[in-house]
Every structure is written in C-alpha cells, then in structure tokens.
Symmetry: C2
Subunit: 200 residues, 2 copies
C-alpha cells in the first residue's frame, strides 16, 4: 500500500441540491415522452442543468425548485446536503453517485404527477473527477482515496476523497454546499490541492 | 516560530445560529428590565441557552425562533452559518466572538419591539476553548492557531482554529453547523484531535 505524496491544483465545483430522473419518473412528473430543456452544459461532458425543476418533500419539510440534471439515468437519484436532509427530516447515507441501495426515500413532485421514491436520496461523497491522462500523470486510479487541501481563512483538508477516472471527465473536486460553506469556497477561492493519496 | 506536534482528544461542540443581546436590546425586544429564563446551562461556565427566541431578518429571508444565549453582553452579537447567511441575503465576515467591527447588520424582532442592528452579525471562526491548566499541559496559549482532525467517513482536518484560553472555559472545539455537517459530526462522532499548533 504505497503512500504517494503530491500536490496538484484542482478546480473545486460545488453541487447544490439536485436530482437525476429515470426515464420512467420523468414521464410521471412531466408527462409521457417529455424531453428536458438544456439550461446550460456542466463541466462533465454530456451532463447539463435542465430548465426544469421539481419539488422534493420529506417528513418534516420540502424544497421547491430543485434543479434537474440531464440526461436521464437508469435510476432516479437525488443529491442533497446534510443541512438539507435535516430540513427535510430524513437521514440519507453518504454515498458515491450510483450507489443508492438502501438510501433514503422522498416524495418527488412535478407539474404532471408525483413519485413516492423508495430509495435514491443520498449525500454525495466528496470526490475527484479525473480524465485518464491526468490520472496517469498524477499516479491515480479509480477507487483511490485522496485528500484535498483548501486554503484561506476557513482552510481545511478534506480526507476520504473518492477518486473517479473516466475519459469523459474534466479534472474537478466535487463537494456539496455544506463542505463549500465550511471551507469558505467562493468565486474567488475555488481551487484546492490534491495533497496525498493512499493507493491500493 | 516553533511548530509543536501533538494529538489531544477534544470534544466537539456545534453552535447552531444564535444571538447574544445587549441589555439595551433585550429591553427593546422583550420590554424594560426583562430577565431571560434559563433553559439549560451550556458547557462554558455561566453561559446558558435561554427559553426566549427572536426573529432575525435579512434582505432576502428570515429565521424565526433563533435561540438567545444569556447572560447579556456588552454588544449584541448574532452568530450564523454561511448557509444561513445566504438564505438571509447577507455576507457576514468570519470573526472571533467579540470582534464585530464592520460586521453585517440585520433586523431583530422580539415580542415587544424591533432593532435595526447596524453591525453584530458574524460567522464564528472555528475555535478551541481551553482552561489554563489544559492549555499549559498542551503548550498552548490564547492567540495560537491550531488544527483539529475529525475522523469518520467525512473526515477532515480543520486549519486556522483559533485558541482561546480562560480559567472559566471547558476544553471544547467549537464549530458551526456547516462545519459539523461537512465533517459528519453526529451524536456518535463528536470528538476530534488537536493535531498541530503553530506558536508565535
């Protein structure tokens, strides 16, 4: 288990609460065959913020105007912060995207219908997106665990950062709004440094 | 500037949004001569959560039922998280308690009146409370800057932790709700380790 010490600058991208819908759930919430309108492309190739939003409701509270991210995925997935979770009254696990087994449920509402989602709500685990060339240059691979340092007055080192490598990825450190606020991430302080990696 | 390496377990205490009122502002919000009712003692000697709450209002939003902390202080001070600040529509600085010069304003409302607070709203800088004996044992003094590590699945190291020493203090690492949520602090994961200190 080699420990590789390095320090590479990486852009920080902050994910606010959002949802990815399955084709089936998009049909229910917006009507059969509905197609999402692209509001803007995201940094990860093919992903886009949709013009459409939905309402997410928990036992205690709800959020309206939660942004949808397209295109549709195989399974519906809602990503929120722990702050959001407390307001909704649910306790979702911290998970990597796609790992929704036994995660939290919520009620999703759109203009044409409602879905009682049994599972799919997660708090996204902080992670690095890397293309294959950058990953090779930095001696990283999918499944590695990294640490990322943020500078400034609320400076911090985030441990347990999951490394995800794919040729469609752009290098970016993805965190949620709690993590961004805790570390003072702003428009003027939006980069970090990958400072250590434990290989397998 | 000696660097002292150490690792000392410390309880983590999470401060939700709250307000300390001056005698003058307590009179305005609750009536002349009003005395706060103690709901429960806090870990710091003499400080207590009051039964009373107030409303804090910014340009964009407001929070009702914001807890008051007694006793009265010389100056009114409101401590919120950056998440709270965004919802209120204000941009308070990150400051140590008591350092409110040129901080943010807000409207405070109680059952008997309203105060247009010109300054006093801050985001509390993460800090360590230490009694003098513990501080001496750990070779720390007021004004030192420490780092505190949190374990677990959202493990992180918080840098720029201000050290405050006073004989009335109980050892504790104080963070806000954003920092607690970002690091996965819960009832079962509520301690950290002071891991490094840069002396002056």
């Amino acid at each position: 288990m080699p420990i590789i010490q390095q320090r590479h600058e990486i852009p920080v991208e902050v994910s606010a609460r959002h949802a990815h819908l399955s084709r089936e759930h998009l049909d229910i919430l917006f009507g059969p065959g509905y197609e999402l309108a692209k509001l803007k492309d995201l940094s990860q190739i093919g992903q886009f913020a949709a013009a459409e939003t939905i309402t997410i409701e928990g036992l205690r509270g709800k959020f309206e105007k939660v942004r949808l991210i397209g295109p549709c995925r195989e399974h519906t997935q809602v990503e929120i912060s722990r702050t959001d979770a407390r307001l909704l009254g649910i306790e979702p696990p911290v998970r990597l995207s796609g790992d929704i087994s036994s995660s939290s449920g919520a009620r999703l509402s759109g203009p044409q219908g409602t879905v009682e989602l049994g599972q799919g709500v997660i708090i996204a685990q902080r992670h690095l997106h890397l293309d294959e060339a950058t990953a090779e240059q930095w001696s990283l691979k999918s499944g590695d665990v990294a640490a990322v340092e943020i500078g400034g007055e609320r400076g911090a080192i985030f441990n347990n950062v999951a490394v995800r490598v794919h040729n469609d990825f752009m290098p970016a450190f993805h965190i949620d709004t709690d993590e961004a606020n805790a570390a003072g991430i702003t428009a003027n302080n939006n980069h970090g440094y990958v400072i250590a990696v434990s290989g397998n």
